[in-house]
Symmetry: none
Subunit: 303 residues, 2 copies
Amino acid sequence: MSTSITIEQLKCFIAVSKEMNFRKAAKNLNMSQPPVTRHIANLEHNLKAKLYERNTRSVKLTKEGTLFLTHATEIISRIEDASKIITKNKDSMIGTVSLGFVPSMANEILPLIATHLKENLPQVKLIFKESMSFEQVEGLNTGSLDIGLTRLPKDLESFNYSRVVSEPYFLVINDDHELSKKENITVYDLHNIDFIMYDAVIGRYSFELLSSLFLNAGVKPNFVQYVSQPLVFLGLVRASMGVALLASTTKKHAPKNVTFKEIQLPGWVRSDVYLATRKQPKNNMTLQVYNNIMEALYNRIEA
Amino acid sequence: MSTSITIEQLKCFIAVSKEMNFRKAAKNLNMSQPPVTRHIANLEHNLKAKLYERNTRSVKLTKEGTLFLTHATEIISRIEDASKIITKNKDSMIGTVSLGFVPSMANEILPLIATHLKENLPQVKLIFKESMSFEQVEGLNTGSLDIGLTRLPKDLESFNYSRVVSEPYFLVINDDHELSKKENITVYDLHNIDFIMYDAVIGRYSFELLSSLFLNAGVKPNFVQYVSQPLVFLGLVRASMGVALLASTTKKHAPKNVTFKEIQLPGWVRSDVYLATRKQPKNNMTLQVYNNIMEALYNRIEA
DNA sequence: CGCAATTGATATTAATAAAGTATCAATAAA
DNA sequence: TTTATTGATACTTTATTAATATCAATTGCG
């Protein structure tokens, strides 16, 4: 009774799905037929789902089988790709640097970095990886990430880091909303107001920041929704589901009837992003890239 | 002498990379230390590359090791995700909600629905909940959701549903890209092209749709990235990380130098969204809202 | 300098898992 | 009814993997 999916199981599943015939699949795999049967059975057991509707005369993929086939194919080709990448590029991979980033950086900062690096360090191959802040901290620790564009400065103490983005929050509001005419809005105006909040897991940093803000001010908005993606915030505000606090980056995507309104907040309530890397980089390429990114972003601040 | 990479090898490699210590890694894996050594050795043999610079006093990742760690982590989590997807063990959502929607609906469809319902059924209080398609199916089953704006029609057989959005995919491409000048682009032009793919979990529907597309066509793009948010796709395309296939909704957010180009795809490759509800609604309010939403969306199609 | 502690590697043995052989029951076609 | 072909199963053999005990190498400490 195997307890985990194995590569053999996936390979058998793919082979059988190609031939729709256990014996032919076994032949293609250079093995006899019984183990193929067993591998499929074990795989089904692991997934707690039937992959084929089969009897001695016909083999048909079930819905789950069809679904799983795409994933199985993906996994196997991923494994093969990874081997090839390592085997082939053994020597030429000196200049690969992996960069994690939080989603909000993708729009503006990331193209800036990519362009700047292509000009200044063309020999470096960058691998970008979209991931949440705490995943990045883990990645930096384990070594799967070289550099991170991340929030959560408290977790960053053991790294080299510096703040590269610091944006104020704006009150995002539908033009129909009662607050849209008011001047000098503060956090106290949000008491009992329908409010679209960040998802506590995916948008952990902003969630905690705004939670503290409300807690300290003794303000209790009415959280109608927990959301993570910028465009969803904007859509919901447009749908008059409530107001939201968003960093200014998102401004350019504001749809009709949605306004980014200034709101007076304490100085520490800002949307900050840090560039972080290990204190002892594994190769000096990383440090070069780090400095180059800092340069690119510094130029941006000047502009 | 093993001839192929195994999952145990990858798990050992990840564990050792986390601890940077064979014995501790072995403990975490609930096994003794010698097999860990062997698995790493076999993996290195398979890859024909040293993963660690190690002696009895220290363990350090080599360049190849650093690179491979990214892939190993990705592969293992992909396997786990695939199992979860099939087993459908995803926990149900926190809180109780009424209308689930996939993120891509937030921008345009959702405000439309909210406005229309506010006019026609002002007494109904709608609770929106951003969630992935398969979470919605589960929500509909468990009763935490009344109505869903969702993909995955195959899972919807037991519900009342009808298609409310059907958009073609466009090739999203940087103007510098070699394909940007080509006419009559088809899926075959994507072979070996750097491609930004949907995340297999969060963007499961599109992931599977595009996987099938490539599988059927025998085309193998070079997946450089797995992403879920529209703005991240656009940012990465702008950063020349690769091309992507996106539904036309996203078009309006396209930044500079990024073009939505027509691509000839099979008729079944479309971005479809369905409105779904239980066949026996818990209250007749649900049916009213369902019909009202259909009405709102029908008017939109007319317009 | 020397001793204890800790590290990753190894040889040997024990346990486990996988593959092969032979065979079966079920089915469809002639 | 017969025959050929299918996937499943029982049993045996083989191969793989893990644990035990031990080693050599290194470091830190007094």
